[in-house]
Amino acid sequence: MNHNLFGRGFSKYTPLLLLLPGFLLYVIIALGPSLATGVYSFTNATGIRGAPVEWVGFDNYREFLFQGAVSRDNIAATIRTLRFSFIVTTVQFVLGLFMAMLLNQKLRGKTLFRTLFFMPVILGVAIQGLMWQLFLLPRGGPVAQTLSWFGMRSEFLGGQPNEAFAWVIVVQIWANVGITMVIFLAGLQTIPDELYEAARIDGASGWGLFRNITWPLLTPSVNTNFLLNIIGSLQAWQLFLVLTGYKNGTQVLGYLVFAQGFGQTSGSVSSAFRQGFAAAASIVLFFLVLIIGMTAQYIVNRREKRIMG
């Protein structure tokens, strides 16, 4: 069924014509090179001009998934990635919605709060890391001080893996909840006041208003945030680089790909460039994210169809 209402004959194709530049750019700049990464994953490519490149079949995948003890570490990193993603997605989603609803009221200074909560997004990972390293200093840092009032103590980022991991989760949510909040805010603004008024006349209140009006009408924002959070958290690893470094017991899959591909597992050592292997590892990550993301997308679409009709 064609819903295109614009013009007949040639001009019927205007939307298509105007769609092409954006789409072609996408294919050439993003999709093509990414697919080439897939091809790379079956080679021992180093990325160095003139160096021989050989097909190695599934060797890189075998090494990543099944060889020796490293597969154990890779699988552990995979599970850790999923755990990280689950916690970050859930908390960031709920917190973002909560903050958006707080700020959707008529409050003095809400612009200031909004800007403040969005600020980390503007900073980028390196600066977020610097700020939190200072904020979380075990000796005399503000958080250490606050914890000590309650008789608690933490080694923070330099400590044991579980502790360091937990703090990275905190920073990840802190850094990104601003986007979630803004998208929810934009969504909340599309809900007309009249709907609430009508519902109130019908006797609805509190939880009922939220369940029957806010939540269903927020669907586009909910979907966008749900997907963004899942994908963002599955691929996030730069904060680990900045906050904990390549520490055994905290690595997530994205960091593993980067470190093994560019030989940056331990600072000064000049190791091999293993672009082929890194490509294989990133394809594994890709499929993981794809499966989870597509499942999420499927759920979201079904929900959207149910609600929006």
Partner: protein, 287 residues
């Protein structure tokens, strides 16, 4: 959560009646707690920017002893802000503009379901969200196009962002179809329809995407190192390297440079935030 919305309504209709709104008081309290978690790290950054290097290393968390503006002066000069700022502005505005316009033209037919394959195009963009970064193949592409170490080549790298596509498609779906029909009946051309009618209606989405995309370009650290080797083409972030050594970094100067760097994006956000929050145009939702 819902009580807040409710109180919001209550409040709008009870203007002028002076009484303590406990929901509001609670909201403020919660917001202040959140704010502390955001102000804290930011304060550490500002505090660092006002310290001398020895002062910082002696006691990184202690309060700066005075307002030492020297770091800002050093940062401005050493990181070559005056030269690089122009480049950053060019890259950010041009790439964001092209990106947003091309994206809206891809998004609209997909959101409206004009073409059967639209679904699959959207699927491709969704898949792109999951795709691994393709540093090496992308470099080969730009090199072979003869665009290595050029402005155009660098801008080309920032014309794609699947997240923005998905946000815009989702928002166009909330714009009622009746608008298309009335526009088509008025004999409005598709091109004009998108630019003069659709674009203003999806301002919230466009503003969000613009901010996110511009921030990404503005803060990019790795790509200028790889794609630009001519000093005249460097963006501001490339200048930050001055403060980072292998065996030690000048954190106070870096903090000062970062504070300068974040100001334009903060202004952009504060400016566009009005549009993001202004909500969809009256007629679009209610009409």
């Amino acid at each position: 959560m819902s009580t807040i919305t409710e109180s919001n309504l209550k409040h709008t209709r009870s203007k002028g009646i002076a009484r303590i709104d406990w929901v509001k008081v609670g909201s403020y309290l919660i917001l202040l707690v959140f704010a502390a978690v955001y102000v804290g790290p930011l304060f550490m950054l500002v505090n660092t920017a006002f310290k001398t290097l020895p002062e910082f290393f002696r006691a990184p968390t202690a309060l700066a002893t005075g307002l030492n503006f020297q770091n800002f002066v050093d940062a401005w000069r050493l990181a070559k802000f005056p030269t690089y700022l122009v480049n950053s502005v060019i890259y950010t505005t041009v790439a964001t503009f092209i990106y947003v316009v091309t994206t809206v033209f891809v998004a609209f037919p997909i959101a409206r379901g004009y073409y059967k394959f639209g679904k699959y195009i959207l699927l491709l963009y969704v898949i792109a969200l999951f795709l691994p970064p393709a540093l090496i193949p992308q470099f080969q592409l730009i090199l072979n196009l003869g665009l290595y170490n050029t402005r155009i080549g660098y801008i080309l790298l920032f014309l794609i962002n699947p997240i923005g596509m998905i946000i815009i498609v989702n928002y166009i779906k909330t714009v009622p179809r009746e608008l298309d029909e009335s526009a088509a009946m008025d004999g409005c051309s598709y091109f004009r329809f998108i630019l003069t009618i659709v674009l203003p209606l999806i301002k919230p989405a466009v503003a969000t995407v613009t901010v996110l995309h511009a921030i990404g370009i503005w803060n990019e650290l790795i790509l200028p190192t790889i794609y630009l080797t001519n000093d005249a083409l460097y963006p501001v972030t490339r200048g930050l390297i001055v403060f980072q050594g292998v065996y030690g970094s000048n954190w106070p100067a870096l903090a000062a440079a970062v504070l300068i760097l974040m100001i334009p994006m903060l202004i952009l956000f504060m400016f566009l935030q009005r549009y993001i929050i202004a909500g969809l145009t009256e007629g679009a939702v209610k009409g």
